[in-house]
């Protein structure tokens, strides 16, 4: 998802009996759904895993501004421009809420962002795909934010207090994002010209599989999941969330009058779920390792913004220092 592959540093779960008294008390609190707060004792691996997960999540929000920003200057009406700008701004805000939660774990925001710029930190694979037509803005809202919501709603109950509170805020604000996206697509499909309808189908064809990949590798290929679930910083398995997303999305796809680029997608009466085709995991791992269509562009854009702004941030600090000295002298 927004944090697709989070290394926990532990491949084998400890039982309560194997834990020392502090860790055991910690795990029992987690089991009892009592939130862990910044100054509480926590296993070092839990803290590090959370920093990785929350920073990946935050980076994803910030990098996620870029594919949408690509169409902000070309949004086709004042209404769409306002909606898109508000949505992108929310994403910057969500990045900030998450970085703020991450900093309560003793991590430094600038250091974590530097890791992103050095290509050492991950962010959601989805944002390495290009936005090539206006309908992509609708599709991102519908599929990408839709997938994000499926993942984030359970994270509101995650065991770490500041992360949980950030997710509650994010979920509350994001409720308009998916609707905004779907409404763009519905408008184009119902009232648009043939050219506009073609944009929508083209967009779904390109984003369908990458959106399914957002939930991360399938469970049998997800070695860190067990520990993350025990710590309750992850609450459902990747495959479970992916299935939930598909089940809720296919009827919306049909309502649009569009198709998915998956010949195996069909309702299964027996399981009560949709069956779907095999995901191209090679593509997923390629993109995660930096070889997606836009990885370089996205990182370059973020690095440029922060590097080129260095003189501005320095000037602000210099001015603040001058002000402080003047106050002292007065």
């Amino acid at each position: 998802m927004y944090a697709q592959l989070v290394e926990t540093g532990t491949k084998k779960l400890k039982t309560l009996e194997e834990m020392g008294p502090q860790e055991r008390a910690f795990q029992e609190k987690v089991n009892d759904e009592i939130k862990i707060e910044p100054k509480n004792w926590m296993p070092e691996a839990y803290r590090k895993t959370l920093i990785r997960q929350i920073s990946q999540h935050a980076h994803s929000e910030v990098v996620g501004m870029l594919p949408e920003g690509n169409w902000l200057t070309r949004a086709p009406s004042l209404k769409r421009k306002l909606q898109l700008m508000a949505k992108i701004q929310d994403e910057a805000g969500h990045g900030l809420y998450l970085y703020s939660a991450m900093e309560t774990l003793g991590a430094d925001r600038d250091e974590e962002i530097q890791k992103l710029h050095d290509g050492k930190a991950k962010y959601s694979s989805i944002f390495n795909y290009p936005t090539l037509n206006w309908a992509d803005i609708g599709t991102i809202g519908w599929l990408v934010d839709g997938a994000a919501i499926v993942n984030q709603v359970p994270l509101q109950r995650t065991s770490y207090g500041p992360y949980s509170r950030a997710m509650i805020r994010v979920c509350k604000e994001e409720s308009f994002h998916q609707r905004q996206g779907y409404q763009i697509l519905l408008t184009l499909m119902r009232e648009g010209t043939e050219e506009q309808k073609a944009m929508v189908q083209d967009s779904i064809n390109r984003f369908w599989w990458p959106a399914l990949m957002m939930f991360g590798p399938s469970d049998d290929n997800s070695p860190n999941s067990a520990q993350s679930m025990a710590w309750k910083i992850k609450r459902h398995s990747n495959d479970e969330l992916r299935q939930r997303f598909i089940d809720q999305t296919v009827p919306q796809l049909e309502l649009l009058g569009c198709t998915a680029p998956d010949p195996d997608l069909k309702w299964n009466e027996e399981t009560g779920h949709y069956d779907f085709g095999e995901i191209d995991w090679q593509e997923f791992f390629d993109v995660v390792q930096g070889n997606g269509p836009c990885n370089r562009e996205r990182i370059d854009a973020r690095r440029r913004a922060i590097d080129e702004g260095a003189w501005v941030r320095e000037a602000a600090v210099a001015h603040a220092e001058k002000q402080r000295q003047r106050r002292q002298a007065a």
């Binding site: 910030v62 501004m65 870029l66 920003g69 902000l72 200057t73 070309r74 949004a75 086709p76 009406s77 004042l78 209404k79 769409r80 421009k81 306002l82 700008m85 508000a86 992108i88 701004q89 910057a92 805000g93 990045g95 900030l96 970085y99 206006w134 763009i184 408008t187 184009l188 009232e191 648009g192 010209t193 050219e195 506009q196 854009a301 973020r302 440029r304 913004a305 922060i306 080129e308 702004g309 260095a310 003189w311 501005v312 941030r313 320095e314 000037a315 602000a316 210099a318 001015h319 001058k322």
Partner: protein, 264 residues
């Protein structure tokens, strides 16, 4: 499709287009800044300003379209038609706001020089005898007052910051200065509006603008070229710099490329 270049303009519609186009074009410059702010916190702030400006543009242009429709039989314009279907020579925005974003000093200097004018203008417009103008202006004024506070602070921070930031801010002020003549030179449209009690008179506006500029630049330890320096004007009458054409080509790309599309 109605040819939006053929609309006749009364002083009121002309003036509403000036108001709407200036905030629209400045809003579009903010849209270009997305993802490029020097800090994430500043990203939030820039987009809040952008949202305010587009909202103001929508209000002014909606009123302009209604006025044009009332004056011209068969006219069915709306704010989007005015924003997305007019050519550069039909735009009435100030030259100042179409200037490129440049670096953060250029962006903030442009914003400050505009805000310092926008606030007293809106204060005057909020007293207009036309209740619609007064209402839009009063709402915009709250936003612009905050914009001015922020842009003033940035001018001071950068001017009185490091050697580098000071040099950049000074250069930005010097470069943009020639576009400020338009803010304070009244032409017959401005005068007609002032005479009709719909807009502030030149004296108040000019004095307020100059006082704000001098006060903030002094706090920023910066200088400015003389107020009576040579000025580049023409935006208010549709004579623009080369930058506007590119800005509009990008902004209007979709409605222009798909002229048959009636909804987005």
């Amino acid at each position: 499709m109605q040819n939006v270049s053929q609309i006749t303009r009364t002083p009121l519609t002309e003036y509403l287009l000036r108001l709407g186009d200036s905030v629209l074009v400045l809003g579009q410059r903010h849209a270009e800044l997305c993802g490029k702010a020097p800090a994430l916190e500043e990203e939030m702030a820039l987009m809040n300003v952008g949202l305010d400006l587009f909202g103001q543009a929508r209000n002014w242009l909606t009123y302009a379209a209604e006025q044009i429709n009332a004056e011209q039989a068969g006219s069915e314009l709306d704010a989007d038609a005015l924003a997305f279907k007019r050519d550069a020579q039909d735009f009435r925005n100030l030259l100042l706001v179409e200037q490129p974003n440049g670096d953060f000093a250029d962006t903030m200097a442009r914003q400050f020089l505009f805000d310092a004018w926008h606030v007293p203008l809106l204060e005057g417009l909020a007293q207009a005898s036309d209740p619609r103008i007064a209402e839009v202006a009063a709402k915009s004024l709250k936003e612009a007052t905050y914009h001015l506070r922020r842009s003033s602070e940035w001018v001071v921070r950068l001017g009185d910051g490091t050697e580098e930031s000071r040099a950049r801010m000074q250069r930005a002020i010097d470069n943009l200065w020639r576009f400020t003549g338009e803010l304070v030179q009244f032409d017959e449209v401005d005068q007609a509006m002032a005479d009709a009690g719909l807009a502030p008179d030149a004296g108040t506006l000019v004095a307020r603008w100059k006082a704000t500029v001098e006060k903030v630049l002094e706090a920023a330890t910066l200088s400015h070229p003389p107020f009576d320096a040579w000025m580049y004007t023409g935006g208010k009458t549709g004579h623009h710099t080369e930058h506007l054409g590119f800005l509009l080509a990008e902004m209007q790309y979709l409605p222009r490329t798909y002229p048959d599309a009636t909804v987005w």
